[in-house]
């Protein structure tokens, strides 16, 4: 099981430098002609890299050198902050991309690993955001607790859906979550205590006296206050990637795979289907809620029409476009789905049309997503703790509903 050949570390470094360079360039450049040329260039680089195996080499290398990945990304982020230092808008977009990507990694755990559809993700993001907003009313509440509270609230709201999610599969499960997402939006709109359609105001993050709303001054060097949020979002993104990779590469990932691919076989081998589904669903919702709370704090204002069905579908689109089941795919896919509409502002009313056409083209040219799922490199020594006892909390393997046609 252990790797026969040690992969070199340089693809990680090269990849991080190249990707962050591309992201920074897209964010920083405003000239229309340059943007179009750059996007075409990056698309070419991306497809060439995939065609000649560079993406796969990068992934292999990243798997074996997780420390190098983290370090390189942190260094790249700091360098990016220093370079862009006063670009408020650029930082806002980078944080937005990182937060959405974190949320989509949560969706990947649900949909890509355990096969639990979630078409109401914006509802869980919204639960986190509104919790942060409501906790904002309590002046003594530390912001760290408010952010984590957002994640917990999403989990609690999600637990109301456990029974329907466990009993249904495929499109039927998709409907239950979709229905929840719509209900959540209607509820917010109609309920004046949580602001109704006018939404709620929030104050910025303040962690232990570190006020995120102030610009950072290093001598005469001024850095936009949004850089604080870039660092925070990066930390959340790191947590999301860490959790997802631990789940995926340990035995847990194998169990989740069996749950997704063949529930009947799973039940025969005594795997507790219900437990693993709940675990994946909960972990994903927590990430969505956490990202939502941070996003709300960053924007300073939230309203129900930020959390509509089309936002849920956007989040699912990220997972599909990135490549279902590949956690790293979330980043380029979010970059496309979040940044592209913003960068297409110069075509004004035509931008939604062009955006949709571009997504169609990407899907047709790359049906398995930008970064297709690969066979995992299992690390049997990777122990995330003995979770066996936890499975006893959930009633033993549930009855399998009437057989349906399996996937594929």
């Amino acid at each position: 099981m252990s790797s026969p050949v040690k992969a070199p570390v340089w693809p990680v470094l090269a990849g991080v430098i190249l990707c962050s360079g591309m992201l920074g360039a897209i964010v920083a450049v405003e000239d229309q002609r340059l943007i179009v040329a750059m996007l075409l260039g990056f698309a070419a680089i991306w497809f060439a890299a995939r065609r000649w195996g560079a993406v796969a080499a990068l992934e292999r290398s990243a798997e074996q050198h997780p420390g190098a990945v983290g370090g390189a990304i942190l260094v790249a982020a700091l360098a990016g902050i220093a370079l862009l230092h006063e670009d408020n808008f650029g930082f806002l977009m980078i944080s937005t991309v990182l937060l959405f990507a974190s949320c989509c990694i949560g969706l990947t755990i649900q949909l890509g690993y355990a096969g639990v559809s979630n078409f109401g993700a914006a509802g869980f993001v919204g639960a986190g955001a509104y919790t942060a907003a409501v906790l904002n009313w309590l002046p003594w509440m530390p912001d760290l607790l408010a952010l984590i509270g957002g994640g917990v609230a999403a989990v609690l709201v999600g637990s109301l859906l456990l029974l329907p999610v466990l009993r249904t599969r495929g499109h039927y499960a998709a409907l239950t979550t979709l229905a929840f997402g719509i209900m959540f939006g209607v509820f917010l709109d109609a309920t004046p205590i949580v602001g109704g359609p006018q939404g709620l105001k929030l104050s910025g993050v303040n962690l232990f006296g570190w006020d995120f709303s102030n610009d950072i001054r290093l001598g005469s060097f001024l850095i936009s206050f949004y850089a604080n949020y870039v660092l925070l979002s990066l930390a959340i993104f790191g947590v999301a990637i860490f959790v997802a990779s631990r789940l995926d590469r340990s035995w847990v990932g194998i169990w989740l795979d069996t749950v997704r691919l063949d529930e009947t076989a799973c039940a025969v081998f005594g795997v507790n289907i219900g437990f693993w589904k709940i675990l994946a669903f909960t972990a994903g919702n927590f990430l969505a809620g956490l990202a939502g709370a941070t996003y709300a704090k960053m924007l300073g204002f939230i309203a129900p029409n930020n959390f509509t069905l089309s936002d849920s579908l956007m989040l699912v689109s990220v997972v599909i476009l990135g490549g279902i089941g590949n956690r790293w795919g979330a980043l380029p896919a979010t970059a496309i789905l979040v940044l592209l509409p913003e960068k297409l502002q110069f075509i004004q009313e035509y931008r939604l049309l062009i955006f949709a056409v571009l997504v169609v083209i990407i899907l047709m040219a790359s049906p398995a997503g930008l970064v297709p799922r690969r066979t995992r490199r299992l690390d049997p020594h990777l122990i995330i703790g003995n979770v066996g006892w936890l499975t006893r909390l959930v009633p033993h393997a549930r009855s399998v509903p009437s057989p349906q046609r399996g996937e594929g």
Binding site: L111, L161, L163, P164, R167, T168, R169, H171, Y172, A174, L175, T176, L178, A179, F180, I182, M183, V186, F187, D189, A190, L309, L313, V316, S317, I320, L321, I324, E349, Y350, L352, L353, A356, V357, V359, V360, L363, M364, P367, A368, G369, P401, S402, P403, Q404, R405, E407, G408
Partner: protein, 303 residues
């Protein structure tokens, strides 16, 4: 009791419309296991095609019945065409990738159709007046008011449901559809042209949406470029609640949905804002109770 009758009538009309949309979803799912999310926008496209046809016929000085005929013909042809082409160029090439990819793809295609209508139809961003060609007015039964055009359209809708059911259960083409739905590989081994069956099914499903679009226009006298979005969500939900791949399930799902929405307004007029909340809550309860839809998918008959 008059008000109950009135609500019942309203719900019946709405339910027929939802059922027609849901039927399309269930047909596509039957043959290809895909959810085609552009379905609502195809409906809108059909309604706009009908509007153009009616305006042309009107300026040509044709009679009312010719105009109505032109409308339905234009809608059916336009939607059937766009349905087959979506199947040919987008769905069939992707059929070996995960079903969710097709969902996203068709959602984006729907956006393209919608945005094209908004941007390229003259003044397309605003609601459009749909010619009122059916007899106006109605009769009062006590305090319940029955619209003549509503009655006619209700009959058209029910006839269409019966027609689709007949096509699927009684014709050779329907047999082919059911065979493909049942077991694609065996069907192909028996020499069936799989791609052709899929394309024709998409044409049939989309044409029902086209007729539903015209009915919508005639009933509400108004169409707009975004009207398909909500109809698609409700149609999709109705198809699933009823049991995907089951025609009767789709129709029952449609009536259930309309019934729930009407019931919510009738019982709690002070809380109409919560009516969608209520409808989807019941959907979740129903789907928890019957995890594969009200009419559970039976292996022997998928369409």
């Amino acid at each position: 009791m008059d008000i109950v009758a009135q609500h019942l009538l309203n719900g019946l009309m709405q339910g027929t419309m939802y059922g027609l949309v849901a039927m399309g979803f269930t047909l596509f799912f039957g043959v290809m296991d895909v959810i085609k999310f552009s379905h609502g926008d195809v409906l809108t496209f059909g309604a706009f095609a009908a509007l153009v046809a009616a305006l042309l016929a009107q300026s040509g000085g044709m009679g009312v019945w010719v105009q109505i005929l032109a409308m339905f013909a234009a809608a059916v042809v336009a939607t059937a065409l766009i349905g087959t082409e979506i199947a040919r160029f987008f769905v069939l090439p992707l059929r070996h990738s995960p079903t969710l990819n097709i969902l996203l793809l068709t959602m984006m295609l729907g956006t393209v159709i919608r945005e094209c209508l908004r941007l390229f139809y003259p003044n397309g961003g605003n609601p459009q007046r749909f010619p009122a060609l059916l007899p106006a007015g109605g009769i009062n039964f006590g305090r319940a008011f029955v619209r003549y055009d509503g009655l006619i359209l209700l009959a058209v809708g029910l006839a269409l449901i019966a027609l689709v059911h007949w096509v699927i259960t009684r014709t050779r083409f329907g047999l082919a559809v059911r065979a493909v739905a049942e077991d694609e590989e065996t069907a192909r081994m028996m020499g069936m042209n799989f791609r052709r069956v899929v394309r024709l099914t998409f044409a049939l499903g989309s044409a029902t949406a086209g007729v539903a679009g015209v009915m919508y226009g005639l009933y509400y006298s108004e169409i707009n470029y975004g009207m398909g979005v909500l109809l698609a969500i409700i149609g999709f939900s109705a198809a699933i609640v009823g049991g995907l791949g089951n025609l009767w399930g789709a129709i029952i799902g449609g009536y259930l949905f309309a019934g729930l929405q009407t019931l919510a307004v009738a019982l709690a007029p002070a809380a109409t804002e919560y009516k969608t909340f209520f409808a989807f809550l019941v959907v979740i309860v129903v789907i928890t109770w019957r995890p594969t839809g009200l009419l559970a998918e039976a292996r022997s008959e998928r369409v």
